[in-house]
């Protein structure tokens, strides 16, 4: 009797400890992971509401996490080779896409035949293609704009025409005048942030790697100029040093800085300061002057991916087809509400694009931005963008302090990158 009780207890313990849940079954629920509550989360909610109206049997569960957490969670679960705990749909930043596709083969659903990819911007489709197969649904564009406070720049004596299609050197000179005449900073700037550097590189159609994916830092004139510009921006005193995202956005919202050069997704944050309505304007991104460079570039942007082994994969595909590759009105709504410039071409025109935006002094900014989007030189991000970023920025401090020449810095960065990616 006693013995059996003991045995039962032990068994019960084991069951509770090791009681693995059974394989996941279809439960009519599509789980989505994304990170920005005012941007991609809000947009996904809009999409979910639209789909649930068509197909009431499906529930869409949108999980918000910090971007780093999404990546960490995805990495750990995929590396553990388990299918549990994975969502149906996950948002992945374009710079990171190839890393996931190449190193977790078989994890993402092959969507080549499910969507007509001619309907999407070509540079977005390239990012998610591996061995001729396409794995994602293109989402937002990171087309860059030079957003500025027209009132502050007017006070310093600059008209909209003076700010159009300028070079970064001109940008710095303008910044100096602004600082001198108005006391305002030209921009908020973190000298170890790679954002502006990636903007500069892509405007010249260059990246950190060659066609075979090998590091190509040495001899890369665009990179040399970008290094010089970083140092000039710091030395000229036109930048307010910021230490994180919130401080950086803060320099815009408090009116401390006169401009911000970033991806179109920043518009939502600019508009957060309602009292500045009518005071903003936008011009094309400055270009480099020592290499062939365009006044158009890209920063960030991300796309949706469907997990191949998720329970409701088919429902997820249907959802993406109906909304992200079918609902033109959806794209108009997210453009107006969230400032999201989609990359679904059939929806890239329409009323929302040509509507004058009072916040930007009546300019139809999205018409301009989508025109610039078509000019963005395509580059192959490869899989090691963040490694390259880290290697370059590790030397930036010394370059800005003047204790290291740019040539030496680039050599050191390339050596570090070589070691990092073996």
């Amino acid at each position: 009797m006693k013995k059996s009780i003991v045995c039962l207890l032990v068994i019960a313990l084991f069951v509770t400890i090791f009681g693995a849940a059974g394989a996941e079954d279809s439960d009519g629920k599509i789980t989505v992971w994304a990170w920005d509550p005012s941007f991609n989360i809000a947009i996904m909610k809009e999409a979910a509401a639209r789909y649930e109206a068509i197909n009431p049997d499906i529930k869409i569960d949108i999980v918000e996490m910090a971007k780093a957490d999404v990546e960490q969670k995805l990495n750990t679960v995929l590396a553990a080779k388990t299918t549990e705990g994975l969502p149906e749909i996950v948002l992945i930043e374009d710079y990171n896409a190839q890393k996931y596709l190449q190193y977790y083969p078989g994890s993402f659903a092959d969507l080549t035949t499910k969507f007509n990819y001619n309907d999407f911007a070509a540079y977005k489709v390239g990012v998610m293609t591996l061995d001729g197969k396409v794995y994602g649904v293109p989402f937002d564009s990171g087309v860059v704009g030079f957003f500025y406070r027209s009132d502050i720049l007017a006070e310093a004596g600059f008209k909209a025409e003076d700010l159009k299609n300028i070079t970064w050197d001109q940008f710095i000179e303008i910044g100096k005048t602004v600082k001198e005449k108005t006391g305002k900073y030209m921009l908020g700037f973190q000298n170890t942030d790679g954002g502006i550097m990636r903007i500069m590189m892509q405007s010249a159609g260059k990246w950190y790697f060659d066609e075979e994916g090998k590091p190509a830092l040495i001899g890369n004139q665009a990179l040399v100029e970008a290094f010089e510009l970083y140092k000039k921006i710091v030395d000229s005193g036109i930048a307010k040093p910021t230490n994180n995202w919130n401080e950086w956005v803060g320099t815009i919202n408090t009116g401390e800085s006169a401009s911000v050069t970033s991806g179109v997704w920043i518009v939502g944050s600019i508009k957060a300061a309602k009292d500045q309505s009518g005071l903003w304007d936008v011009a094309p991104v400055p270009r480099l002057s020592t290499v062939d460079s365009k006044n158009a570039s890209n920063l960030g942007g991300s796309s949706w991916y469907i997990l191949d082994k998720s329970a409701d994969k088919d429902a997820a595909i249907d959802f993406m087809q109906k909304i992200y590759a079918g609902d033109k009105d959806f794209y108009q709504t997210i453009l107006i509400n969230n400032g999201a410039v989609g990359t679904y071409l059939p929806a890239a025109t329409g009323e929302a694009y040509s509507t004058p935006d009072e916040f930007f002094g009546g300019r139809a900014i999205y018409e301009d931005l989508s025109a610039w989007m078509k000019e963005i030189p395509p580059v192959d991000y490869g899989i090691y963008t963040y490694e390259a970023d880290a290697a370059i920025m590790a030397q930036m401090e010394a370059v800005c302090a003047g204790t290291m020449t740019i040539d030496d810095a680039i050599k050191a960065a390339e050596a570090q990158l070589e070691n990092q990616i073996q």
Binding site: N75, A79, P105, N244, Y384, A415, Q416, Q420
Partner: protein, 309 residues
């Protein structure tokens, strides 16, 4: 009967044992195996000692090692010495309001690591309260870039860690001091010993085991330092560098980056973590050796000699 009993005994502890085996022993062994592989996501290959060789030539690893070493060498001694002094002051029976001071000094230790780091980050931000204070009192004429200048940033990190951990160690010393009989102090006082003499000749020697313990714990803690540098650095994981000039890149932060920020290489990350294990083991042995009194060392030598003879 006896056999049956011991069988049941094993049965009862088996859940705990199995848990330990699965969640502690297995990961330790598996990560050791991992340290000989190179992984990229789920593509993995056995590389033998290549990871360990790669470490020696890896500038990021060497930088992380150097940064951790600097923090260890500066922060731990300052912290332990000030903890000793604080404990000694608080141990004074004549001190009024001892309870309040004790609580106040220990209080930082109950704050969450993230919370206090964020707080320091705000205090020392470009237009934070520290800069405003310095400006308004005229000590500096332009705001200091605390968190964007490498040396100042390390200073802030060390200051934050001192604030958080000194009280914690003070309590260890205090409890050890209270185990020292008051009569010894009384006797010393009658013999005319000064405060400094009592501290150096009585308190310190009697505290030795505790000093050894806190030194080892702090060394281990610093070598595993993660939360503070991660949160103090610009934008945390999304930034290209961990703090200005990578000054916040500690070994644990590097492990995190290898796993989650870069192309995930769990194999190489395991190698770095094993190097931390080896360093901790080495330093601990060294500290035990240094912590032995000369008499103990002599006794040991004598024993060894006798053993040989």
């Amino acid at each position: 009967m006896g056999k049956k009993l011991s069988m049941k005994g094993w049965l009862f502890i088996s859940p705990a044992l199995i848990l330990l085996a699965v969640f502690l022993v297995y990961p330790i062994i598996y990560s050791f195996y991992l340290s000989f592989t190179s992984t990229k996501g789920i593509i993995s290959s056995f590389v033998g000692f290549k990871n360990y060789i790669r470490l020696v030539k890896d500038p990021m690893f060497l930088l992380a090692l150097k940064n951790t070493g600097i923090i260890l060498l500066i922060q731990v001694p300052i912290m332990l010495i000030s903890a000793l002094i604080l404990a000694n002051i608080l141990n004074d029976r004549k001190l009024a309001g001892r309870g309040i001071f004790r609580t106040a000094i220990f209080l930082p230790s109950v704050t969450s690591l993230i919370a206090y780091t964020i707080l320091f980050k705000m205090l020392f931000s470009f237009d934070g309260i520290i800069n405003r204070l310095l400006l308004s009192t005229g000590i500096v004429d332009h705001p200091l870039e605390w968190l964007t200048t490498p040396k100042l940033a390390v200073f802030v990190l060390i200051l934050a860690m001192l604030w958080r951990w000194t009280g914690y160690n003070t309590v260890f010393y205090l409890s050890a001091m209270q185990n020292i009989s008051y009569e010894i102090y009384e006797a010393a006082e009658i013999d005319g010993a000064s405060k400094t003499q009592t501290f150096l000749r009585i308190t310190l020697p009697l505290l030795k085991p505790m000093i050894l313990f806190t030194t080892i714990m702090s060394t281990i803690g610093t070598l595993q330092l993660f939360d503070e540098p991660m949160n103090l650095s610009q934008g945390g994981v999304t930034a290209a560098t961990m703090g200005p000039g990578n000054c916040f890149l500690t070994l644990s932060v590097y492990i995190y980056n290898l796993c989650f920020k870069y192309v995930p290489n769990f194999g190489y990350a395991a190698t770095v973590s094993y190097v931390i294990v080896f360093i901790i083991a080495g330093l601990t042995v060294l500290q035990f050796w240094a912590g032995q009194s000369n008499e103990e060392k002599d006794a040991k030598k004598r024993l060894e000699k006798e053993g040989k003879a």
